[in-house]
């Protein structure tokens, strides 16, 4: 075989060509550093005024959107966006959570408590220019009442509705089957009838086909990329006044450390923890002069729940909960041997408030505290006495029941929650000193053993709304499953006549003060029962850049959270920091040529491997002939 030998000069030239091509590719990779009009390293989105003078507030969120349809969305991220896109009938005051006007300016019940009449404001317009009327609200509720797909997310709000009508553009009338005190807390986005009546299958329509999406909230959704971002622009004609930022972007960061890095850099203005920044992240951010760590009372409680004996609605028992926990003295003994202060200090590292009543203190109207005589404070000696009285005597280092069996318990823990695991270790130690054995059973998904009633204790927690009806309702007999092991609305199988009667009473009580009093009685009963023991109220820990956000409303206003509020106050009220022509972040130090060089070098390293291989053309010579 005769091989044609290229002239010697051709070889380096071709190699040079390929190397140059590699270099070009590398430059392309690094080119983001030199995007026209953007200085090197500048954040792609920043609150500072850009060339067009637009101010943008970028929020790093952990969740992605599950659906942009308010009829389907379950995730907090999506429902937070809906709060901004669509007005609700009512809203909650950021100072103290009391109900304030939203789309409705007034609401009043009839004398028989079964009819509510809402006055719909006349100064709210949809973003396509059409007037918002009572007909939109009536249509929204009726759709949820008659279409299973439309009831997916918020069906529980209309479960007690008999009839909804709009006798005039300003009047909305809702007739109820039973009195319902929560009618000023209907957290349902009202959608434009003229747009949504064209939707066919509500169970499949995700409201992500046509932008901008027609809405009447403080912001209008203009763009959405799955798993990446949601962009909204200020609704300049919003009846409460236009937001101060021109644009609001929710950017998905799946890793919280990366989100914190983005905040440091100035790429985002705000980081919403999922559910909170870790103590280490908060501590590290506190050292940055342009970053404010916002810590306020959270809306969650962290609790220990006991299995009171799983049963169906018709009283059929199932599950294998330890019988010892059916004794109130045993339950109380367990809680007397929990040192909450240690848990707050060591596990939550100070980022939580010691638990007392069922409703967190930020909801001042419903917050309840046990009296001194009622309080189950840390008292291992009293716990030991209670166990003795209940018939669980100490034999050696074990508590043994009347049947001679040792008292060994299991606790369900969320494998994904480090707090559960850490507290589990403490409980093992504290209860071990009392002679009680404990197995900490951590699962990725606790719902299966939980709903099968196959647990003794479980770590529990809920986010509480300004209206407490829902978190109270999950402990009623009607929330029990119809069939054994089937998932149901119940939290942990509590079913008690006293509690149920109080629940019905509060739901039918339209006087806020009287209702609050009944709710506190329920909390008192819950505390004494020992079925639910509130260990802590974890704080909301978030952070934002003060060089991008001048001021922002927390909820409660005195000290509270920013992300996931019961309302749109934070993003609606946020004021941009005065544009001073430079980014606050040290990372955004402008177009230094060093940066360009290093950027290109890094990119070259990436491409050079492949490029160099390609560049190695065969050096054919006469010697290769065989």
């Amino acid at each position: 075989m005769v091989t044609r030998v290229p002239p010697p000069s051709a070889q380096p030239r071709s190699r040079m060509r390929i190397l140059l091509a590699s270099g070009a590719a590398a430059l392309a990779l690094a080119a983001g550093s030199i995007v026209p009009g953007m200085p090197l390293g500048a954040a792609p989105q920043q609150a500072q005024a850009a060339d067009n003078g637009k101010t943008t507030l970028t929020v790093a969120v952990a969740q992605s959107v599950d659906s942009l349809s308010p009829f389907l969305a379950q995730r907090l991220m999506s429902t937070s966006v809906h709060r901004l896109m669509y007005d609700f009938l009512t809203n909650y005051d950021p100072k103290d959570n009391h109900t304030v006007p939203g789309l409705a300016t007034k609401w009043e019940p009839s004398a028989d408590k079964l009819t509510w009449t809402y006055t719909i404001r006349s100064n709210s317009k949809w973003s396509d220019g059409q007037q918002t009327t009572a007909e939109d609200a009536a249509w929204t509720f009726n759709k949820m009442m008659t279409d299973e797909g439309a009831a997916t997310a918020n069906g529980s709000f209309v479960a007690n509705f008999k009839k909804v009508t709009a006798p005039s553009p300003e009047k909305l009338v809702i007739e109820l089957k039973q009195p319902q005190a929560t009618m000023a807390a209907l957290d349902v986005p009202i959608v434009p009838k003229h747009v949504w009546e064209k939707v066919g299958d509500f169970s499949k329509f995700n409201n992500d086909t046509k932008f901008p999406i027609v809405g009447n909230g403080p912001y209008i959704l203009t763009d959405y990329k799955v798993d990446q971002y949601v962009k909204l622009k200020a609704n300049k004609s919003f009846w409460r006044g236009a937001p101060k930022f021109d644009e609001l972007v929710f950017k998905t960061y799946k890793d919280q450390d990366a989100a914190v890095a983005a905040l440091r850099k100035g790429e985002v203005s705000f980081v919403a923890g999922a559910p909170a920044l870790t103590p280490a992240q908060a501590a590290s951010l506190k050292g940055d002069k342009n970053i404010k760590v916002n810590e306020g009372p959270g809306r969650r409680f962290f609790a220990l729940a006991t299995n009171p004996g799983a049963q169906t609605k018709d009283g059929k028992k199932f599950g294998d909960g330890n019988k010892a926990l059916l004794d109130q003295q045993v339950r109380q003994a367990l809680f007397l041997s929990i040192d909450r202060k240690t848990i707050i200090d060591k596990v939550f590292q100070g980022h939580a408030v010691e638990g007392q009543g069922y409703i967190p203190p930020r909801f001042s109207d419903y917050f309840w505290q046990p009296s001194d005589s009622q309080k189950l404070s840390y008292d291992p000696d009293r716990a030991a006495k209670l166990l003795d009285q209940a018939g669980y005597k100490l034999k050696g280092d074990q508590r043994v029941g009347k049947d001679g069996k040792p008292l060994d318990l299991r606790i369900l823990c969320h494998a994904t929650d480090p707090n559960d695991k850490a507290i589990g270790k403490y409980l093992k130690e504290w209860w071990g000193k009392l002679g009680i054995g404990l197995k900490v059973d951590c699962r990725d998904d606790v719902s299966v053993p939980w709903y099968a009633g196959e647990y003794d204790l479980a770590f529990d927690g809920w986010s509480v709304n300004p209206d407490p009806d829902f978190v109270l309702g999950i402990h009623t007999c009607s929330a029990l499953p119809a069939k054994a092991k089937e998932s149901a609305a119940t939290d942990n199988f509590i079913c008690d006549k006293t509690y149920d009667e109080l629940y019905k009473k509060q739901l039918a009580e339209y006087d806020p003060a009287k209702r609050a009093d009944i709710v506190k009685q329920m909390e008192s009963w819950m505390y004494d029962s020992g079925y639910m023991n509130i260990i802590a109220y974890p704080n909301a820990v978030e952070a934002y850049r003060t060089d991008q956000i001048k001021s922002i409303t927390t909820m409660p206003e005195a000290a509270g959270n920013i992300y996931g509020q019961d309302g749109y106050w934070s993003w609606w009220s946020a004021v941009p920091a005065a544009a001073d022509g430079k980014n606050g972040s040290a990372a955004d130090s402008g177009g230094s040529s060093t940066g360009v060089v290093i950027g290109i070098l890094v990119a070259v390293v990436v491409v050079a491997g492949g490029g160099f291989l390609l560049a190695r053309r065969r050096r054919s010579t006469a010697e290769e002939r065989e």
């Binding site: 069906g155 709903y451 990372a587 290769e624």
Partner: protein, 360 residues
Amino acid sequence: MTADSTPALVQNADADTDGRAPAGPSVARDAQARNIKVYLQYVAAKIAGAVISLFAVLVTSFFLFRLIPSDPVKQMTGGRRVSAEQLQSLRHQFGLDQPLWKQFTSYVGDALTGDFGTSFQFHTPVIDKITEALPATLLLTGTAYVLYTALGIWLGTRTAWRNGSRSDRFNTAFALTLYSVPSFWLGLLLIIVFSVGIGPIPGMFPTGGLESGGETGVAYVLDVAHHLVLPVITLVAVGYAQTLLVMRSSLLDEMGSDYLTTARAKGLRDDVVRRKHAVPNAMLPTFTLMFVNLGHVVAGQILVETVFSWPGLGGLFYQALSVPDLPLVQGLFFVFATAVILANTLADVLYPLLDPRVGR
């Protein structure tokens, strides 16, 4: 045409010195035809095997994810205000109230027509969710694949050829060290150093995502490329060692061979011996590895996609598993398995063309 029909004159003319007639053109053609037939039979067997595997995957995916002790409806609505009626309605909507055999038959029936159902949590056809996230994954893992394969082959060849030298020891140790580094940790480190900036190094790359949003045309391409740099570096850093080691060990196996001694004895230059004689033979195991890795390109990289908030299949699979969103998780599992099966089948089909000993 057979050898018997070959003209005698031609046979005589072609007879060599010891009187044996070489095979005529028709014999060669016959042999070629036989080889093609054998090869086609081999390919058909491989494709049949792949089809059977795919069906097995389809069946397995259904039961595998139902072994996860979980209640999708409860997980999805966790912490939300839902009534028992709503829960029941959702179970009905998702078909979870049907007997298992009925769920299975409708799943297989629909899957055979390309319908993997609708995602529980996204209320979108599974196929749409997958096609939405697939390009991002292919861009990230595909780019990384090309780079780490090329780098691994090149460095593997170099290190083997200089076996025992300082550069061999350094390169191998360095590659193994990077191979041992958790990808998410390395990713975070790169974000801190090259994205936020540290000391004299300014922040040069975005902290995450695929794009800034709002860019079009060339600016969009540059923006995506800019976002691509750090995740690609992460994947290449932790990924090239595997190719390097396979290439290195297979080349070391070849290095003592007689044919290389012969080649050197003929006076060929060292790099010619390496490139023309040693490397092609040593490439066979690497070739297999390349196809194995190619199959995994589609599956994405959950950890790296998470750290860099990359909107690909890896992250989608994680979201699907956490519910578990059964239709989505089944669909993704099927797509991942299909990619691996197809890549392996392709390797099987191409291998005899590289190594005639295979498939006979």
